[in-house]
């Protein structure tokens, strides 16, 4: 026992047990106080055994419904702890909610989703899937198969399989989500557009674990889904809108991670041109785009490397120049992507491209 407060409280609780009996409201209240003190000042996980005792007593005296507030409070406090500590209490809450509200209830569906998220974040993907499917099935009964609620539940399932990189499942889940969203929100809706963009990212990621033929097909599917989704966003928000820029950036980063520079190149060029118009030709927002183009071109031994490198270094120099430095808070005021100079390794990417370019250049001139 690591709690500082527990020994004194337990002495007091022992006295209450003698006086009122071990299964009494007095003992339950004292245990509840101890749980609250530990949650407020120490690690909520240390309160777990006292909570267990408290809710066992409360349940036997007043029935399962009475323990829900205690469980809700503790689970809320312990949300940052490892899921293995929270899991037994969440399972208990699910069982209680099922008993009180019935299987086909919003409360049970919500609990299944919360548990599903927990399992997904702690490596229990199979258990997460079962619970999320259970939530979908409940919502279908409550709201109808073609409803916004079911669409949101299916989206959560797709997000979960994507998050844990189960690409085959993610593809199937996104197809299911897409078909549902088309029926619920309309074929040209923003929801459908975003689902297509998510599909494109999944297809691209899936390509990295496939044989060349299948990999190429996956990239083609990614390109097609992205084109369709982006087209819808363009119509809705405008071709140079922030929404389009964000979609381009997400897709580019996926292609770059998947080593698909050729596919990323037209998107990089498009985003560069949008950013030039939106933020100016010397904006920090251009740096990562120039760096990615330089690395990609250098890797392909392309002649386009050098102009990109020159422009990238020149732009970076504006921000890092010793004579007239621009400080971080000033950079933060620049329009566009503000994290470009910090944490993204733009300088490292440019240097990497520069070294590759120098090697290619030496080869070109006979070395």
């Amino acid at each position: 026992m690591t709690s500082f407060y527990a020994p004194r409280h337990l002495e007091h609780i022992a006295g209450l047990e003698k006086r009122f009996g071990p299964v009494s409201d007095e003992v339950a209240t004292a245990l509840r106080s101890l749980v609250r003190v530990i949650c407020d000042y120490e690690d909520p996980v240390d309160a777990a055994p006292f909570l267990e005792r408290c809710i066992t007593i409360a349940e036997s005296l007043h029935g399962p419904r009475s323990v829900l507030p205690d469980l809700d409070k503790w689970i809320g406090h312990a949300s940052g702890a490892d899921f293995e500590h929270i899991e037994p209490f969440q399972l208990r809450r699910l069982a209680i909610k099922t008993e009180i509200f019935g299987e086909d209830s919003e409360a049970v569906a919500e609990e299944c989703e919360a548990l599903g998220r927990g399992y997904a974040s702690s490596g229990g993907y199979a258990k997460a899937r079962v619970l999320l499917e259970r939530s979908i099935s409940i919502k279908e009964k409550l709201h109808g198969a073609h409803s916004a609620e079911v669409a949101a539940a299916v989206e959560l399932l797709a997000e979960t399989s994507t998050h844990v990189k189960k690409w085959t499942d993610a593809k199937a889940d996104l197809e299911r989500s897409l078909s549902l969203k088309q029926k619920v929100f309309g074929k040209r809706s923003e929801e459908v557009a975003r689902c297509l963009l998510a599909s494109a990212i999944v297809h691209a990621n899936a390509s990295t674990r496939q044989r060349p033929g299948s990999s190429r097909r996956s990239i083609e599917e990614a390109v097609a889904a992205f084109k369709l989704g982006l087209g819808m966003l363009e119509k809705r928000f405008g071709p140079d809108s922030v929404e389009v820029q964000v979609a381009l950036e997400e897709m580019i980063r996926t292609y770059v991670d998947c080593r698909q520079f050729r596919t990323a190149e037209p998107l990089l060029k498009r985003l560069l041109s949008i950013s030039e118009l939106a933020y100016g030709e010397d904006a920090a927002a251009l740096l990562w785009i120039l760096a990615e183009l330089a690395v990609g071109y250098a890797d392909a031994g392309s002649e386009a490397t050098e102009p990109m490198l020159e422009r990238g270094f020149e732009l970076l120099q504006n921000f890092l120049g010793a004579r007239k430095p621009i400080f971080r808070n000033a950079i933060m005021d620049y329009a566009g992507n503000k994290s470009v100079l910090y944490g993204e390794g733009v300088l490292e990417r440019l240097v990497q491209a520069s070294e590759m370019f120098r090697r290619n250049l030496s080869k070109r001139w006979g070395a």
Binding site: E306, P307, W365, G366, A367
Partner: protein, 220 residues
Amino acid sequence: MTSYDTRVRKCYCCGKKSEHCELMSSNSWGSPDLDQRPPGMFRATVEDWLQECPFCGYVAPIIDKGDAKARSFVATAEFRAACLDPLADPASRRFLVRAAQDAYYGDRRSAFLNTLCAAWVADDNKEQASEALTLRLRAAAHLEGRTIKSIDTRLLLLDVLRRAQRWEAAEGLASQLAAEDLGYPFADIVAFHRGKIEARDSGRFTIARALDQAETEEEW
């Protein structure tokens, strides 16, 4: 072996279809020239590197591809002037049209390279020796007026100036490059050029020849 195929392409600018003989494969064994003209069979395919739409005059490596810039350039006076260039050889003219498009959009290096390709076409025709020299001067003119940082571009320019017999300009550039401590293989190539400039030799040499000579001199 060099192989060709005939394909129908729809022009990116005017949308009309035309037939083109396209280069499918070739080889480039050996050392390139000091202006990076490729060796082997690929060397002789220079006339087929660009296609031209017979209807609107749009020029591109593949005429069914392009961008917004290409479409707007076809409507400019610069495009019309380049199409009417008095040079007799159609292949040279194609490169010059492309160079005009590059120059119009501020891509000086590409304009320089495409004009150099036009000079290569002229090189292959003994009757056009003076045209080749003129084209090299035109290529160099694309890079005038701004400091060039690129080693690659400056090495190409050095060969262009030497072959165009612009001895003073070539020596100036060679001195500037020699002062930069460029290391192997660039320094050896610059040294080779300096020897040839001193001897007023405007001939064609390969990179391998330049590096061999440097190696021989080192052994001595």
